[in-house]
């Protein structure tokens, strides 16, 4: 497995970890005592706005830690160059992510059209964002291995 594939795997694991820990934190801190917050748009807005910077910072920190550990164990240096093949793979992965998220967005809107509770829409949006992220990263590994 080359360093690019390792970096992608780290991103996938980080995404799952960050999402799981944050979801548990929000549930334990706010929702367990106040389940009525589920239908409060303001609560969901704040949850999303905090999640984005937290996820970005955590990804950066975890990638730095991975680079240090990988460097010590394998004496490899991380690829800094992003060449035309990397960009093509990135574009293909973004396209997959885009379609998946669009599908999730339509499901979320559909839930409101069918008169479901507000939290169904927000949970669907969060889930589609999470799934599209994981699938697009997995697609990158597939393209790196199979070719583009």
């Amino acid at each position: 497995m080359d360093t690019k594939e390792k970096q992608i795997l780290v991103t996938i694991v980080n995404t799952i970890l960050i999402f799981a820990i944050y979801a548990y934190y929000v549930y334990d801190r706010y929702l367990i005592d106040n389940p009525e917050l589920l239908n409060d748009s303001s609560f969901w807005g704040k949850t999303f706005l905090v999640l984005i910077p937290v996820a970005i910072l955590a990804q950066i920190v975890l990638h730095i830690i991975f680079a240090i550990i990988n460097g010590i164990l394998t004496r490899e240096t991380m690829d800094i160059i992003t060449d035309e093949r990397d960009k093509l793979i990135e574009l293909k992965a973004i396209r997959i992510s885009h379609w998946l998220f669009t599908f999730g967005f339509l499901l979320a809107m559909g839930s409101q059209a069918l008169g479901m509770e507000t939290w169904v829409m927000f949970v669907t949006l969060v889930a589609s964002g999470f799934i599209s992220g994981i699938v697009s990263e997995s697609a990158k590994i597939y393209f790196y291995r199979k070719g583009v």
Binding site: K4, D79, D83, E84, R85, D86, G147, V148
Partner: protein, 82 residues
Amino acid sequence: MSNKIKIDKCAITNNIRKLRFMANEMTQQDLADKTGVTRQTIVAIENGKYFPTLELAFRIARVFETPLDQVFEFQFIPSEKS
């Protein structure tokens, strides 16, 4: 009357492995450094898993100081008639 244009399949092959050998066994990393891409991209090109842009193809040809058609070969594969 049908106006469909029949296009044969094509195959692009390359001689990079041979050219590296003839260039004093140049390593994939050396070629990658000289063309500004990663070693993995050179590996993918050699294995036919990635077809480079024209710019990169010319860069590779320039490294070996050889015409482009000596590095990459293009062939039509005649499709079977039904």
